[in-house]
Amino acid sequence: MGEAFAVEYPERNTYGEVMKGYFSLMRGFGLEFASRCERVLGPSLGAGWFDEYVATRNQQDPKRIQRRQTPSDPSFFLKELIYTEWSPYRQVVPDDVALRVVSKKIVDTRNTWLHFSDEPSVVQLRDAAALIRDFGARTSMTVEAPAVRMIKRIDRIRTGQYPSSPQDQELLAGKSADQDSGEPPVEIPLDPVDQEPRPPIGSLWRGPIPERRIRVTRTRDVVDVDTGASLRSAVAGDPREKVRQWTSARPLGDLWVDADGAVGGFVEGQERLLGYVGEDPAGETARGFLVRRFYDVRDGRLVDIDSGSALVDSVSEEGAELARSIESAAAEAMEPGGTIRITNYGDVLYIDEVGMSRIGVATPRSWFPGHLA
């Protein structure tokens, strides 16, 4: 094609900059992939191969495959690469399971973070860029280089090394330009909220850290550090499961507990809301942290995509009934391009372009062994 596409990198950790970086990288990725497809498939399949392919797919699956598709849209070609066995895309890049797993993770990551965080940050962009880099490395695509650069830029933003000079920072903040320009203000004022509600479980802790410290003991009891008194009787539900939920993100050091029963601790050096001594607030659909595992539905079976093993074959008799009901919920919800994830609280999530929903709540015994450790 001979033209070049310049990927744009975020200037700072704001919503707009993160989105700019993400869409720009994905567009660069899509354009390069489409150009390679033209080069590889054009000579053998003819110039109109893409339109013919879309038409055939639309006939096969009119509900999901619209007639209007763009060759450079990753959400189209990645899904075709993953799910359509006879797809010519499998001649363009290595036809192997590992690459399809990376492709699935790119789709999953996009589904996950675009729907989730009310404030997608450079951290999520970094995850997405790492997967694009991986895809690029496996297919010798040049998008690997901008993906690596994206990661470096993000690391510099996170550590305050970028932007570097005060003049740059002022320029970016728009201070110098907007003084007397007559432009309308760029910020939307938001009214302060008196008693800010707690954010979802797993969020960064809001407000000061309370004094009261609690510790998980070797017997998996949880005691007040000052008095030695156990909190077991105050805990709502199964204390062992509560303790597992609070600690599976592996907070270091003692936890703290606030007057309302909110429990917090340090995860990778950051203060986080880990849960509640009492009942969890109603209405939270994705409590806690995402487990670093990826799943799929194959032939109606819920499988772990890295090991390939099916959920119902992996659980003991005790967990089988719940596992089967989660599997059928997943099979019912799943569409090509959809994503199944689980949080350390056991919230099983179905995520796609339309939105995110909780399709079940698993326990450690009704899920893949070790995934909810």
Binding site: F116, S117, V123, D127, K152, D155, R156, R158, T159, Q161, P199, P200, G202, S203, L204, S248, A249, R250, L252, G253, D254, F266, V267, E268, G269, Q270, R272, A286, G288, F289, L290, V291, R292, T343, N344, G370, H371, A373
Partner: protein, 198 residues
């Protein structure tokens, strides 16, 4: 007298004393249980956002060897207590009077506690939250493969390493934070793991 030198590496803060003190102890290269000897020690206080506070010392010993060792564990989560017994760092002599050290990192293994293991530059950058090469070079170190920095090295020739002049102690303490403290903070090598949603 000069002021302490303070700097951050990721979520770890390091306060390096301005001057050396006389110290008597056992050098790492002499082996545990070896005789004590005199040395010149530079002390640093290492603190993490999740509560670690400990002192470590970089010592140049009378027999010519040099190393970084823990001194006092003052406070912090139990996970960091591993630093009292593991993760000492030997600084090997280089041709140009300077010192060279391997960048191996504390990694959790099957036994449930971390031991030093070989890592890539990318993993080191992950711990540091920034480009590890740039970080170490900003503190005056040279970086590269161990074999390139220490021509007579026989093992680990292709592994990440750094070199400093005799007064390049800030880089030594930064390397200690990256390879010893931050991997424990992040649970490097532990199975599973989670990612923040919010």
């Amino acid at each position: 007298m000069d002021e302490d030198v303070e700097f951050n590496v990721g979520l770890v803060a390091i306060t390096m004393r301005a001057e050396d003190v006389d110290f008597r102890g056992v050098s790492v290269s002499a082996g545990r249980g070896a005789a004590e000897q005199d040395g010149k020690l530079r002390e640093a206080v290492v603190e993490s956002s999740d509560g670690l506070r400990m002192t470590i010392g970089c010592t140049f010993w009378a027999d010519g060897s040099a190393d970084v060792q823990p001194l006092d564990f003052l406070a912090g989560p139990d996970a960091y207590r591993r630093l009292e017994v593991a993760g000492r760092m030997t600084l090997n002599p280089a041709e140009d009077e300077g010192r060279v050290a391997l960048l191996r990192a504390l990694k959790y293994g099957d036994r449930g506690y971390p031991t030093l293991a070989s890592v890539s530059w990318e993993e080191l950058s992950d711990f540091a939250g920034t480009d590890a090469v740039e970080l170490l070079e900003s503190h005056g170190a040279r970086t590269g493969e161990y074999g390139a920095l220490k021509a007579d090295a026989t093992r680990y020739r292709e592994h990440p390493a750094f070199a400093v002049a005799q007064d390049g102690l800030a880089a030594v303490f930064a390397a200690f934070a990256v390879t010893r403290v931050l991997p424990i903070m992040k649970g490097f090598g532990r199975d599973g793991g989670v990612e923040a949603l919010y």
